[in-house]
């Protein structure tokens, strides 16, 4: 049964004839965020078709605003998830930051900017604490940040009650520095007759920075490695510990930013706020293509995920669908968006 040689072995190192060049389309399709982008376009098209109001520029500005308040946090949460960890305290940390800034400045009669700066320190500190405890104990981040979640929730209420006697912070609208801070964190920018919230621009900026860091810096490389295979990353000398603590602090930073936005747009902060938001952020990140198991995802994806969530929840209102069924519509839309995402990915893999 001895047969002749059927193919001459190619010289080593030469180009492999087994590999078809991937078309540009296929390469584009295989980016983590493209599937969700198609999902976003599908959701957009749907509401564009069924909801006349959705077509107005003003409505789009509202949708973008909704995207930004979710998306700024979702970005940090996505980075953290790429790095292989969760933060369940992300939602209440926003409230903590806002409460702290206002209470601190109010109680000590300081300029609001001092409160803002102090809140930044506190927020970064909470992030660093989460990260430190995680690395120190080796417990899963789910548990650590669950603990922080409950603690912050309790502290928000307990401290506010203790200091103000009420369950919300005192209004800061008449304090020094309010107007400037409002301009930075919570103003409105008119563009071609439409008022766009400033958070939208901050969001774009943050996503651009996030993308740059992820794809073009050492730190980004380390984030992917720490989430993809912690042991391997450590073995080749990646500072896993510092990377993860840094990611938690990034979440802290964004929580501070969103907290400041809330403080300066609503003047007073309800101490019970933020609970449950952490999951919205995770949802946005996952819908945007992040793997829950870490090591895969993108900054742009988190923005698209936030946009899908914002578009869907407001789109249902714009479409005038029965409010009683709101959540059911939301669920169906989310499932559809992710299934579209999956189909796009499968198609990309086949090319």
């Amino acid at each position: 049964m001895s047969q002749a040689v059927q193919a001459a072995p190619a010289p080593p190192g030469s180009v492999d004839d087994r590999v078809r060049r991937r078309s540009l389309l296929a390469s584009v399709l295989s980016r983590p965020e493209v599937g969700s982008l198609v999902g976003a376009v599908a959701v957009f098209a749907l509401f564009f078709a069924v909801a006349p109001t959705f077509r107005q520029a003003a409505s789009f500005a509202t949708v973008l605003y909704a995207g930004s308040t979710i998306g700024i946090m979702a970005l940090a949460v996505a980075l953290l998830m790429i790095g292989g960890e969760f933060d369940l305290s992300a939602g209440v940390a926003v409230t903590t930051s806002a409460l702290f800034a206002s209470t601190f400045a109010y109680q000590l009669n300081l300029n609001l900017w001092v409160g803002v700066a102090a809140a930044l320190v506190v927020s970064l500190g909470i992030g660093a604490f989460n990260g430190w405890l995680l690395m120190r104990t080796g417990l899963p981040s789910f548990l650590i940040t669950l603990g922080t979640f409950f603690i912050l929730q309790g502290v928000n209420l307990g401290v506010t009650k203790l200091l103000t006697g009420n369950v919300s912070s005192t209004s800061v609208s008449d304090m020094d520095g309010f107007e400037q801070a409002r301009a930075v964190f919570a103003s409105t920018v008119p563009i071609g007759g439409v008022s766009v919230k400033i958070t939208v621009f901050w969001w774009l900026l943050f996503v651009a920075i996030g993308t740059w860091v992820l794809l073009r810096t050492k730190t980004g490389n380390w984030i992917f490695a720490a989430g993809g295979d912690k042991a391997a990353a450590r073995a080749v000398g990646v500072p896993v510990r510092a990377t993860k603590i840094g990611l938690f602090m990034t979440v802290g930073f964004m929580a501070w930013f969103v907290g400041m936005h809330q403080l300066f747009s609503f003047n007073a902060i309800q101490s019970g706020g933020g609970v449950g938001q952490e999951f919205i952020y995770i949802i946005a990140a996952v819908v945007g293509g992040c793997l829950l198991t870490g090591g895969y995802g993108s900054a742009v994806g988190s923005a698209i995920g936030a946009l899908i969530f914002g578009m869907t929840s407001l789109g249902i209102v714009y479409a005038g669908w029965d409010a009683n069924w709101f959540k059911a519509f939301l669920g169906v839309m989310l499932l559809l968006a992710t299934i579209v995402n999956m189909i796009v990915k499968n198609q990309a893999a086949k090319r």
Binding site: T53, S59, G91, M175, F266, S313, A323
Partner: protein, 305 residues
């Protein structure tokens, strides 16, 4: 701005009773951190301080948890229980268990129709539905055409009952909108989008003071001319009514609900009295609007209205 040194302590301080210390549990269906319930608690604490009562305040939104809290109060053998009966069906058996164990129970806030059957001694409060009906009537007299009722917690019995009451007596059209109460920007965005979608809406009714203040921003954002009314009050809301941003607020006097609930248990235990004499004691609805806001604002600033 900032803290003023001379800010008055909240609440009325009365003399203290010399009766032996009494343990009373107050158990509501509210999650902690809600403005309305905070005022209820302040009223209860004021009464407790006056009556030499050791008050244990608890709240849980899930029916099962609230039942457990009452059971725990029974386990702790308290001298009286004040409970909200928003979920009367679920609470009735454990209220019965308490009375069987010899612990007097009063109902407040929720359970206007069910408190007697459940075996409570008295009821202090304002049926949510009645409050809603009052709001609906007010909208009708104002000549409104279409109202938006903003529910900040989906499936919450009390909130749903308020909106149902509005829909019942309001001559125009009523539409509900569900928003995520824990996320203020989302509340603002959702109301804005609804107003953009339906320009015919000329009234926004919110079910809590902070949401009314947020609705003011939404109305501005959407360029709508809708007027705003709300349930419940706080200090900032008073300012908004004075400034004309918000038209009115329905006040069911939560402070009074908490105060009377505790005080009635104290009276019952020390003297066998029942406030209301077997009838429900209504604490509202009263409207706060431009005509009477100065009178109430003073107390709202102290956090007790």
């Amino acid at each position: 701005g900032g803290r003023q040194e001379d800010e008055a302590p909240a609440g009325g301080a009365a003399g203290k009773a010399d009766t032996p210390t009494m343990k009373i549990a107050m158990i509501t269906h509210a999650a902690p951190g809600d403005t309305f319930w905070d005022i209820v608690r302040k009223g209860a604490e004021a009464a407790a301080a006056k009556d030499n009562v050791d008050l244990n305040y608890q709240g849980a939104p899930e029916a099962g948890d609230q039942v457990n809290l009452v059971q725990q109060a029974i386990d702790a053998d308290v001298d009286g229980i004040a409970v909200t009966l928003a979920k009367a069906e679920a609470m009735a058996p454990v209220v019965k268990a308490a009375t069987e164990a010899g612990i007097p129970v009063v109902a407040f806030n929720g359970g206007f129709e069910e408190w007697q059957e459940a075996g409570a001694l008295g009821y202090f409060g304002q049926d949510e539905r009645t409050a809603g009906e009052a709001a609906g009537q007010r909208l009708t007299t104002e000549g409104a055409k279409k109202a938006l009722c903003v529910i900040h917690e989906q499936g919450h019995v009390g909130l749903e009952a308020r909106c149902a009451g509005v829909a019942e007596t309001f001559g125009g059209q009523t539409e509900n909108l569900y928003v995520t109460g824990t996320d203020m920007p989302a509340v603002q965005q959702a109301i804005t989008s609804k107003l953009q979608q339906d320009p015919a809406i000329d009234r926004v009714v919110t079910l809590g003071a902070p949401y009314a203040l947020t609705a003011v921003k939404s109305v501005a954002d959407a360029g709508s001319s809708a007027q705003i009314g709300t349930f419940d009050t706080n200090a900032d809301l008073m300012a908004a009514i004075e400034g004309g941003d918000i038209q009115w607020a329905i006040d069911q006097q939560p402070y009074l609900q908490g105060y009377l609930a505790v005080d009635s248990l104290w009276l019952y235990n020390t003297n066998g009295n029942t406030i209301g004499g077997g009838q429900a004691t209504q604490t509202g609805p009263a409207f706060v609007d431009a005509s009477n806001v100065d009178r109430v604002a003073e107390f709202a600033a102290g956090g007790t209205r």
